[in-house]
Amino acid sequence: MAEKVISTVKRQQIIELAQRGRRLDGRGLEDFRPISIEVGVIDKADGSAIVKMGSTTILTGIKYEIGEPFSDTPNEGVLSVNAEFLPLASPTFEPGPPDENALELARVVDRVIRESGMIDLEKMCLVPGERVWITWVDIYVLDHDGNLMDASALSAVAALLSSTIPNTKVEGREVQVLNTRVKPPITNKPTLVTIAKIDKYLLVDPCLEEESVLDCRLTFGFSQDGSLCAIQKGAPGYFGVDDVHKAFNIAKVKSQELRSKLSSVGL
C-alpha cells in the first residue's frame, strides 16, 4: 500500500481539537460517525451486507459451498475470511493480492467470528471426514475513510446474521441439497471496536486523516456476553499500561452500541 503523505499541520490541528474534546468533523472523542447497515443487497450471495461508517463503505458477501474439511478438524465446517482492499477505495490501494494490511484485517475478523463461536462449525459437518459446509466470507472495501476493521467486522457479522443456507438431507455418505433454505447455525453477535491513540488522547472510530497521524491503535473483539474473544494492537507506536485499561473500558461500552445498531435493523 503506497503511503499518502499527511501534513504535519493536520496532526497539530487534530491534537488541538482533541484538547477541547472535539474532532475534525465536530464529533466527541468517543463518538461513532453515522452508521448504516443494509442487508440482502446481492441476490447471488447467500448473505450480504453493506455497512457505512461515515464514508467508509464495506460490502461483505457470504457464500456457502460443500467441500472437504481440513484433515485436523474432520468433523467441523470450514470458515474462510478474505478481505480485498479494492483499488476503487483509495488512491493508495494497488491492484493485486491482499497486502499485509488486508491480511491482518481478514485474520482479525476471522478471529472474532471463530473465537466467539458465532458459527457452530460442528453443526456445519455433513459427512464426518468427507463433506462439510465451507463458509466463505468475502469482505470488499469499497471506500476507505478510516476504521476499516470495525466496519468490516460489522459488515461480516450482519451478512452472516442475515444469511440463509440450503437445507440438506444426508443419508450415509450421500448429501442431497434440497430446494428449501434455512437459517445457518449462528448464535452470538460479536463486534470489533478500535481505539486510536493520538498524542495522549484516545479516539473511537478514527477517520482516514486521524488514522494517518495516530501513534497506535488497539482493537478489541467482544462476544455478545461482554467477554473478549480477540485483541489486536496495530501501528508501530505504544500504549501506556493505564491507557490499555482505559481503552478497554471505552471499547466495552462502544461494542454495546454496535450491537444495538444491529438490533435496530432486525439482526
Partner: protein
C-alpha cells in the same frame, strides 16, 4: 450558423452545441463544422466563442498561479510537492531559502521537511516537464498553523466572488485570514479553532450550493448563526 443550447444549460460530453463559424472555447471541441461539449457543465456563448464552464475538474497548473502544496519527497537540492494536480511540482532550494547553502554540508530538510505545507507560485509549466515553483516572495512560504481545506477546483471563482465579494465577506464575518490556492486548496487561520471550523464549513457550503443564487447572503446568515452558537 446555429446554436443548439439555451444560456446556462447543463450539457454533457458529446452534446452538440453549435454548427458554423464559432470558436471552440474551454471544454468544447470541433469536429468539422460542428462544436461539441467535452465536459459536464454550463454552456455559454461569449462573443463568438462557445465554451462550457465545467462543474467538475482537475487542476491544471498555470504559470503565475498561487498554489498550496504538500511536500512529499526531498532530494539534495529540491523538494517534490503535491499540488493536487496530475503532475507533482518541483521546488528548488534556491527558490525557498534566502541564502544559498552547500547541499554537501547541510540537509535542506532542516528548513522544509516532508509533510510540511507551503504557499507557492508556479514559475513555469509546460507538459514536457513537471511544474516549477517559487516560495520566495510576499505571502509565500511555509504554513506553520491554521487549517488547509480542499475543494473542487471549479468552485474557486465562486469562493472568491465577483471582485472578491464572497471572500471578503468570509474574512470579515469569521475574523479569519484566508488564502485561496488556485489548485483548490484554501488556508485558513483564525484566532480560535472554532472560528477556523466555521470558516471551513462556510466554504464547504459554497462548494455545495455554488450554482444556486442568493448565495452570499445565505452564507453570511449561516456564519452569523454558527457564531452565535459558539
Amino acid at each position: 450558423m446555429t446554436i443548439f443550447f439555451t444560456p446556462k444549460q447543463v450539457v454533457a460530453p458529446g452534446d452538440l452545441l453549435a454548427e458554423g463559424d464559432y470558436q471552440a472555447g474551454e471544454n468544447v471541441y470541433r469536429d468539422g463544422k460542428r462544436l461539441y461539449a467535452s465536459a459536464i457543465g454550463l454552456a455559454e456563448l461569449k462573443n463568438k466563442a462557445v465554451s462550457v464552464v465545467s462543474l467538475r475538474g482537475r487542476y491544471m497548473p498555470k504559470q503565475g498561479d498561487l498554489v498550496i502544496g504538500n511536500v512529499i519527497d526531498v532530494s539534495l537540492t529540491s523538494w517534490l510537492v503535491d499540488i493536487n494536480a496530475p503532475y507533482n511540482a518541483v521546488l528548488f532550494a534556491s527558490e525557498f531559502l534566502s541564502k544559498p547553502i552547500n547541499p554537501a554540508k547541510e540537509d535542506i530538510r532542516k528548513h522544509l521537511d516532508v509533510g510540511e505545507m507551503i504557499v507557492a507560485k508556479i514559475l513555469a509549466f509546460d507538459r514536457t516537464k513537471d511544474p516549477a515553483l517559487t516560495a520566495k516572495g510576499r505571502g509565500l512560504g511555509k504554513i506553520k498553523k491554521g487549517i488547509v481545506l480542499e475543494v473542487d477546483v471549479t468552485r474557486i471563482p465562486r469562493i472568491i466572488g465577483r471582485k472578491g465579494s464572497m471572500i471578503n465577506m468570509l474574512k470579515k464575518e469569521t475574523g479569519c485570514q484566508i488564502t485561496i490556492g488556485q489548485n483548490g486548496r484554501i488556508w485558513i487561520r483564525g484566532k480560535t479553532p472554532e472560528d477556523e471550523a466555521i470558516a471551513a464549513n462556510a466554504i464547504k457550503k459554497i462548494e455545495r450550493e455554488a450554482h444556486i443564487s442568493g448565495l452570499t447572503d445565505r452564507v453570511r446568515a449561516y456564519i452569523l448563526q454558527m457564531r452565535s452558537k459558539s
